[in-house]
Amino acid sequence: MSRKFRQWVDQYQDEAWTLARYLLKDASEAEDATQEAFVKLWKHRENVDPERIKPWLMKVTRNTCMDRLRRRRDEVEFQEYQTADDHGPMAGLHQTELGGWLKQAISSLKEPYRTLVILRDIYQHSYDEVANATELSLSQVKVYLHRARKQLREQLAEVRP
């Protein structure tokens, strides 16, 4: 079983880590949250449907991150911290105008919009997987995602010459 678990680690660690990184905006805390999610996976490995490991793990990673965010009492301080962090998952795209803008735009999205965009538009997960991971209905996922995309497009229109 530990061999199977190592396969899951190899397959999903980057996605879980990146999601945590997007949500928490802190590398050290994202590392802790990802580790916590995988420990939960290890402990519940017998009960999780092997076919649905990825959405299960994404859901647990997201919930773990949300718990951590809730524990941050001072929301204003958190927002300032977010802006100060310039080494997020999309830092590599700073070299391009669109990439740099995209980083700021996705970071500015509220939940659950941000997670939906990450899971669906960046990770290319299916709608079912996204709904499962976010514990939203399929129709909610579609409507929220449409709004998130529209919001991003509107922001894009503002920065376009």
Partner: protein, 177 residues
Amino acid sequence: MNEKGKPGAHSDDIGKWEAQINALLDGELDVAGAEALKAAATDDQKLARDIIEAYQLQQAMEQLRPERAPASLRRKLKKIPRQHAERPVYLQPRWAAAFAAVPLAVLSLWLAQPQQPSRAEVEQAAAELALAFAYIEQVSSRTAGRIEHEVGGELNAAVGGSVIKSIPQSESKEKQA
């Protein structure tokens, strides 16, 4: 807000073309719908720009790949099965203590139990006791004869006749031991 902390999800909020654009991006728009959208975009510059921007946005996001997890995290994740391995039941502390207590209890009971001699030992002891009594009887008889000879017949019965009977059996055993 239809749920706590979550925005409302009413498809009415989304414009007609907005839903079509998203369906197009998701590959869910049928041919007729695509044709209708194309025709509308021909006459509507804003709609045409929205479609182009939606495509550009989608392409930009598809280029974003998950970031590689840091080596320190990778190492930690690989160690999880070893660090969180469940011990066999008999190795768990509470069960280990319980299992260790069982032989101790058995040993204590065995030590606390009085020692019971075997049947052979009892028979051997009885034979030795009988021999001892026979010897004492013989000695008493000789002593009585000597007393009678030296002192007189009065003391013979008091000393020699009841020697065996007057010695309690337990006392005899102690002496024998």
